[in-house]
Amino acid sequence: MEQLTNNKIKTEEYFVNMGPQHPAAHGVLRLLLTIDGEIIKNVDPDLGYIHRSIEKMCERNSYQQIVHLTDRLDYLSSHINNGAVCLAVEKALELEVTDRVKVIRTIFDELTRLASHLLWWGVMGMDLGALTTYFYAFRDREMINDIFEETCGARLTMNYYIPGGLMFDLHPNFVKRTKEFLVTIKKNLPEYDRLLTGNVIFQKRTKGVGILTKEDAISFGTSGPVARGSGVTCDVRKIHPYHAYDRVDFNEVLFTEGDTFARYKVRMQEMWESISIVEQLIDKIPEGDIKVPTKAVIKLPKGEFYQKVEAARGELGVYINSTGTKNPYRLKLRSSGFSNLSVLNHIAKGGKIGDLVAIMASFDFVIPDIDR
């Protein structure tokens, strides 16, 4: 059959733009595809449509003001991004925050991770055609947003952590509301498994699609659930623990197949791990101060400082190069999406367009994270 096609019928490749304006894609990312019939020959991503020069703006802001800019990178894990900058500054100043702050930051980070994974699940179903999963995921995510809104006042760009602690104290209703939410989410997650994970159509579209081998995952620099789906242990919470992660008991979720279904299962299982971390900590929030007093104008000592955290999409790194003044000389953000995007061409070659959609859904890109 192959011989017949190659010798007798001549086909040509053509270029298709999966363009920046797309009715239901993940953001402003332009992919230039070279297609032969239905088979993809080459994927060329074209970035930069939402570049807002955040790193340059950070060079003229003081350290407390940098925190609110990192909210807008990967806006679905905003607390975790804020935590990265605050930890970098605290590490440079050699400040030790109180236990209460560490535990509260851990709980908020895990709730953020849950919210981000819920949205990812909804959007993955929607990309593959099951349009109701979006609404089911958002119903649960609303409860997390309500929890955050009661304490921080905002639903997306929170800006609650500051170098030295938290901006203000928890709301008295926080523990009660979180416990109610945990009861509901534990009842809803198996239902989501029944709706999408076990579905034979879904499994046929994701099993064996977009296989990323372990060596490739390490050599391209992927991190997060993308790498853990191929068997690479890279969870920053286990390797370099921060906040209160050394005190809680949780597993790092690894699968070895490396296809889209493995990355899907990694995220579904991570949701259960997040729920278990919140459950372990929610009753044991220690009393104490919310803020460690810092000077009004923070000046870091001369030198270079690096801090990495595990955002919902992978490893986020903050590099600060300071010359002793009140603004950083250079601030660089190592984003997880940028390294994950570099793998796309390698694994989408030879597949079909439908496979490309499934692979991009499983990578869970948030384009402002890639473009900064």
Partner: protein, 355 residues
Amino acid sequence: MMNIPLSITSTIHDWLFSIMPEGAATFTEWILIATAYLALFAVAGLYLVLLERKVAAWFQFRLGPNRVGPWGIFQTIADALKLVSKEIYSNERVDKFLFNLAPYFVIVASLMAMAVFPFSKQFQGFDINIGVFFLFAISSIGVIGLLVGGWASNNKYSLIGAMRSGLQTISYELSVGLSILTMVLLTGTLQLSEIIEVQRTGGWLIFQGHIPAVIAFMIFMIAGTAETNRAPFDLVEAESELGAGFHTEYSGMQFAYFFLAEFINMFIIASIAVVLFFGGWLSPFGITEGITWFPEVLWFVIKVFMIILLMMWFRWTFPRLRVDQLLTLEWKYLLPINMVNLVFMAIVIWLNFTL
């Protein structure tokens, strides 16, 4: 030509023939029937769109449109007014004649198919003795409209969408035809009113032909959803893949034609299922037997809406299939099972095991 009717339709018929010469009266009757069908097409199309939006919303924890009129019943009229007032534009390099002709193929095919259905004992536009065969042949004409529309748009994405849609429809017509044939074995006639007559005396066909009929129904539902390009087989209009498929370049009223035609096709597939499997306009256990035409039409409409609800349920639950998986499903699973089922039904009838 026309079905010789009783009561309402016969009174109109006699009155017309009494006031005009015969030729003019026949002509007026044609116009009346055509207008009735066009009105039915428009109204059914509009309200099916509203029903789809409300049903979709109820699966998703929200209420559908409920502001324009109570329960949103004027919503589609508002949408239709909006579509009519849109500017019809096209770029200069489309093939003008084919571009404007394509929507009419699908409408003509749908209207002609609707003309054969028995809505009640008296309301049937065109009762010929090869009813089922006619239906089947007409629904194949709709494919031409899609292919022509995609080609004439001078647009890569439309062409890809149209090609995919064409091969999908052609493949699944086989399964639809074989399922229909399985049920025709039970009735022994192709004429639609006779099929309902057989069900009146012997019970609905899906009960008469127990196991093979149930299998034929399941295959018919799957192949029928694929015929009308609905999810889970809607890669033609998959929004997250390539724009909007073959109707990307159409706007305004022409887009409305394609859109309505999709819903009317759904209505047609559901009507075929109701007539062949569930007894058409007959009431269950014969409870309203013999009362003029109103309960009969009501039963028909209720049954059709139950099947349409089933098709909508499929759409909002399952993810989409990829192109090669779609074809694998048809040629490796549905077609062999269908043929075996046909033989099975033949054996069941020969050995007199029907109920």
